[in-house]
Symmetry: C2
Subunit: 338 residues, 2 copies
Amino acid sequence: LDQKMMGEAQIRLDQLTKPQGSLGKLEEIAVKLAGIYGELFPELQNKVHIIMAGDHGVAAEGVSAYPQSVTTQMVHNFLANGAAINALAEGSGAKLKIVDIGMIEDIDSELLVKAKIKAGTENMTKGAAMTREEAIKALEVGIEQAKKAVEEGADIISTGEVGIANTTPSSAVLAVFTGLELNKIVGKGTGLNEEGVKNKIDVIQKAIDYNKPDKEDALDVLASVGGLEIAGMAGVMLGAAAMKKAVVIDGLISAAAALTAYKLCPGVVKYLFPSHRSAEPGHIKIYEELNLEPFIDLQMRLGEGTGAVLALPFFDQAVNIIRDMATFEEAGVSKENE
Amino acid sequence: LDQKMMGEAQIRLDQLTKPQGSLGKLEEIAVKLAGIYGELFPELQNKVHIIMAGDHGVAAEGVSAYPQSVTTQMVHNFLANGAAINALAEGSGAKLKIVDIGMIEDIDSELLVKAKIKAGTENMTKGAAMTREEAIKALEVGIEQAKKAVEEGADIISTGEVGIANTTPSSAVLAVFTGLELNKIVGKGTGLNEEGVKNKIDVIQKAIDYNKPDKEDALDVLASVGGLEIAGMAGVMLGAAAMKKAVVIDGLISAAAALTAYKLCPGVVKYLFPSHRSAEPGHIKIYEELNLEPFIDLQMRLGEGTGAVLALPFFDQAVNIIRDMATFEEAGVSKENE
């Protein structure tokens, strides 16, 4: 990050007509953006929301309230402009980019980016979700998509996903990296009952016991108990960071991707922004690991990047503050204790 | 509220292509809006942010880090488009309306609504902040401004204020209505140190002891330990509710106004929406009384309505969801456990 520009941003924020620090995290966002873009007032007009779609072999273990076919059905829905993410991205002025990185079915649409690594992961209770090579390829898809988005003009990127059963590998990834107990981090996903959550915990434990991923080897964790869309989103984050653009985390799956990206390359966190706090209990644990704090809490648990796109206007507002406010001197306003 | 329309909104939300309830409070907002406006997809395009400006005699007791003259200076800054609220309201597409309901100084500007009840309240440690009659007049100013805004086209109103020392009367109002201990609700306002907070607590206690407001008589509480802008904001809330428009609460002062409006007329809460959670400890206590939960947390403590205008896009997004999403049937997506 551009430390000099961050210093200038902080100095300017402290001169603006408000008590120092009184805009809280909005000021922190302005400083971080200045560091990322190397300018005091970055223009974040072109917002791109990238959705990674992938299926999960572990769905066979009954860990989701929805049938696996819903992954493909929801991608059709995205392409037909009918999903929550379509409505919310439109409301936040973000362009959608939907990537098939590992759906079981194929969809023949020009609107869909076709980058399938394989038709869904393997059932991780009976082997690795994917090979190490596939995990690397999935990361590369994400990096490539971020790069392409930036080349096409993206100023800021938000991340989302779809993939029936994907809170299961996300919770597994979180559990392996942090060592936290499963009953403290596993939630009901899109709608499991108590019994369903109990089964989900057993399934994750089985997958971890079978694969014994090495937490010091992030690629091993990703390959053995992760997912293709998790890898793709981690790639988007790494790619956006490499292109010096801000990238916004969404819910549990996106946060699991962020944690994976961070384990692969800790510097990525400088380019990552939180958005909402999901209703999934594991979500906030990942933020604690990344030392980031979500600032929206609508008790959402949908995914698709719905929380991330809801947060996009806040980045504009942070820039509006530092760019448009008058200083104490300009406005003739007295300072503290004057 | 239109119960039939709220029922229809809930039915529609449950048919949309997402797990039921997975958009959390965004769905609750959509249902409440349907009830307020009597239509499923209310148009909230015209947003008006009303700022009430007033001074406080209790500032003489050293309860603020800023000199009292800053109230007027900041109103000049609002009028010159230089404050945080200008930048953020612009970013959220809200029109500003600034009302002098009780500044010590006068400002000669056509942009300012002149509705001064008196030139600042009295020092509440030595008597009532205002007479009962003045409190009623200040409420009426707010009601009138809300009515006028709606007549001029406002679809939704957010509330803000400026008035050096005004977290002091706000905390006093909260303490009287709830009986909570002062050390649990009094914060540092715009920048007091520990000693300053201690003094502020002593000052509030002195004001309560001197005036002995009757908590069952909301007008008595407002008049004896409240403020002109608190009364004005409470009036805006009552007026907006009477005109069947949604009205958005900001930080501590705005929340104290909401609590006062609620004590005067409990039904007002049906039209009130929370926005951010302020860094002032008393703020969340008021939300608990009103049974509302803020959904933005940026650790802000500025006032002016900055948190309320940051929340405005969320109301549009709630409408976008219920209006634009496809149903399971339309999209051909399988439901839970199908």
